[in-house]
């Protein structure tokens, strides 16, 4: 079983819809939770990060972390065609020690139809 599970989609929604993207994980040591956006033929770019549990909002994007359920979500409100991309979740344990690395989900491909 992978440490981080993410539904690969593809997910297709009409413009203006609310999009929910999710990841589950098994490693309770994860403390930092990230969402990256990757456009086709490009490198990933950081969208949002959250430390521990709770919500974080940035414009149309909201990240939620539920550590008790080992479940994280990214919500996109008023989705736009420009949001069409692959969304990757990533996680990291508390930054200490020598084994510093992120664990990524496999990504969810999102298409927002005009």
């Amino acid at each position: 079983q992978k440490e981080v599970e993410q539904d690969p989609g593809p997910l297709s929604v009409p413009e203006g819809a609310i999009v929910s993207l999710n990841c589950t994980y098994s490693n309770s040591a994860f403390q930092y939770f990230m969402w990256y956006r990757q456009y086709s033929r490009k490198g990933p770019e950081l969208l949002m990060y959250t430390y521990s549990s709770g919500n974080k909002e940035d414009g149309r994007f909201t990240a939620q972390v539920d550590k008790s359920s080992k479940y994280i979500s990214l919500f996109i409100r008023d989705s736009q065609p420009s949001d069409s991309a692959t969304y990757l979740c990533a996680m990291e344990p508390s930054p200490s020690g020598s084994a510093r690395q992120l664990t990524f989900g496999s990504g969810t491909q999102l298409t927002v139809l005009p």
């Binding site: 930092y32 490009k42 490198g43 990757l88 990291e92 510093r100 990524f104 989900g105 496999s106």
Partner: protein, 114 residues
């Protein structure tokens, strides 16, 4: 050009050949990383470097060699390429220890091993 660049962007090579992928960043970031991205696996860490002359293995290091003689460069060498190394390779850099989520990714190198 400022930022992080990778070369070549596309490469086709034969099984058994040695191939080197280049990564260059202009920010003087301490941390640099090499990932491979395969369908269904997301991003997997191959090697990373915390500073010049300091490198360490990631999740999937077998068949790869890295070096870092200068802060700005982090080449990845496939000593004897195999078909299973066909993938998209991303280099990334991060300037601040403890903030691995602030990784900036290059545009990727699409490698095909025939």
């Amino acid at each position: 050009d400022a930022g992080i660049t990778q070369s070549p962007r596309y490469k086709i090579t034969e099984t058994g050949r040695q191939v080197t992928l280049m990564c260059h960043q202009t920010w003087s970031h301490s941390y640099m990383f090499w990932y491979r991205q395969d369908l269904g696996h997301g991003l997997r860490l191959i090697y990373y470097s915390a500073a010049a002359d300091i490198t360490d293995k990631g999740e999937v290091p077998d068949g790869y060699v890295v070096s870092r003689s200068k802060t700005e460069n982090f080449p990845l060498t496939l000593e004897s390429a195999t078909r299973s190394q066909t993938s998209v390779y991303f280099c990334a850099s991060c300037g601040r220890e403890g903030l691995l989520y602030e990784q900036y990714f290059g545009p990727g190198t699409r490698l095909t091993v025939t």
